[in-house]
């Protein structure tokens, strides 16, 4: 996702984008649409919301075109805007206690489920996870579930690596307490 080495943007396109050129913006959109969508989907875990947030992200990118520093790489800047949009969405949304096992199963996943872990525990854990504060949830989903390097998570969230580790630790601790309060001892 959004690897800096993957795509090298021609300077002219970035300069044109910075000046507000719509064709340059479309070119950048075509280049990054998929990676932005994938990054957001990892955070919000809802394909329809990820599509809406991809649109929102590119709208924010266009709005901020004159603040983009063309000397800096484009991808991390885009990822940060996408992460902010996803975080805003998580904050605006009520915790989903009604999350079902089907919702979890509907997501395009790359790993098989462990039959050693009961479906009920999986569902209760998923529900408890949605009750975490959004800033902890986003750090945990990227670091623990998606196994993104702490450095990349820190850059996307605009915080230090130490702060990412602290948020992940707090998320895991809160999750454990929540599960224990509901009679589930991991």
């Amino acid at each position: 996702m959004l690897r800096q080495s993957e795509i090298a943007q021609p300077d002219s396109v970035l300069n044109q984008f910075r000046l507000g050129d719509l064709d340059a913006f479309e070119s950048l959109f075509r280049e990054h649409q998929r990676s932005v969508y994938g990054w957001i989907l990892r955070i919000v875990r809802d394909p329809a919301a990820a599509e809406d947030l991809t649109v929102e992200t590119f709208w924010r990118i266009h709005r901020a075109h004159d603040r983009f520093e063309s000397a800096r790489p484009f991808e991390p800047w885009v990822r940060r805007i996408a992460t902010r949009a996803a975080l805003d969405w998580l904050r605006a949304r009520r915790p989903e206690s009604e999350l079902t096992d089907q919702d979890v199963a509907d997501l395009p996943s790359k790993s098989a489920l462990d039959p050693g872990i009961a479906a009920e525990i999986r569902l209760k854990t998923a529900q408890a996870f949605t009750r975490l504060p959004p800033n902890l949830r986003i750090a945990a989903v990227l670091s623990v579930i998606e196994e993104q390097p702490h450095k990349e998570v820190a850059a996307a969230l605009g915080i230090s690596v130490g702060a990412v580790k602290l948020r992940v630790f707090r998320a895991i601790r809160l999750l454990r307490k929540d599960l224990e309060s509901r009679g589930i001892t991991p």
């Binding site: 996702m1 479309e26 959109f29 075509r30 649409q33 998929r34 969508y37 994938g38 989907l41 990892r42 875990r45 394909p47 990820a50 599509e51 991809t54 649109v55 929102e56 590119f58 709208w59 266009h62 709005r63 979890v104 997501l107 395009p108 996943s109 790359k110 790993s111 489920l113 462990d114 872990i117 525990i121 999986r122 569902l123 854990t125 998923a126 996870f129 945990a140 989903v141 623990v144 579930i145 998606e146 196994e147 630790f169 895991i172 601790r173 999750l175 454990r176 991991p186």
Partner: protein, 91 residues
């Protein structure tokens, strides 16, 4: 929290919310939606561009402080009617 417990929670979490397949992509082309969003945000600006600025409309709601001040004045006027000419003189 012990390291073992932490790892166990992480393992369960990964099972509860499996990692998303990185090869996934949007089900539709999102560019038309981006253009619509841009149009929506620019429409109010272009609609007012070049037109004469409109007068500021009368506020539909009056701040609570104004109502309180009016109430105090009425109570004062009812309690001390002799002061009304003095007030009017200084207005």
């Amino acid at each position: 929290m012990k390291k073992h417990d932490e790892n166990r929670i992480k393992q369960i979490l990964q099972q509860a919310l499996p990692p998303v397949d990185s090869a996934c992509e949007p089900a539709r082309d999102l560019w038309p939606a981006v253009l619509r969003r841009l149009d929506e945000s620019e429409a109010p600006l272009s609609a007012t561009a070049g037109s004469v600025p409109r007068a500021v409309p009368w506020p539909r709601t009056v701040p609570w402080f104004d109502w309180a001040l009016l109430a105090v004045l009425i109570v004062f006027a009812v309690s001390f009617p002799a002061t009304i000419p003095v007030f009017l003189y200084y207005l």
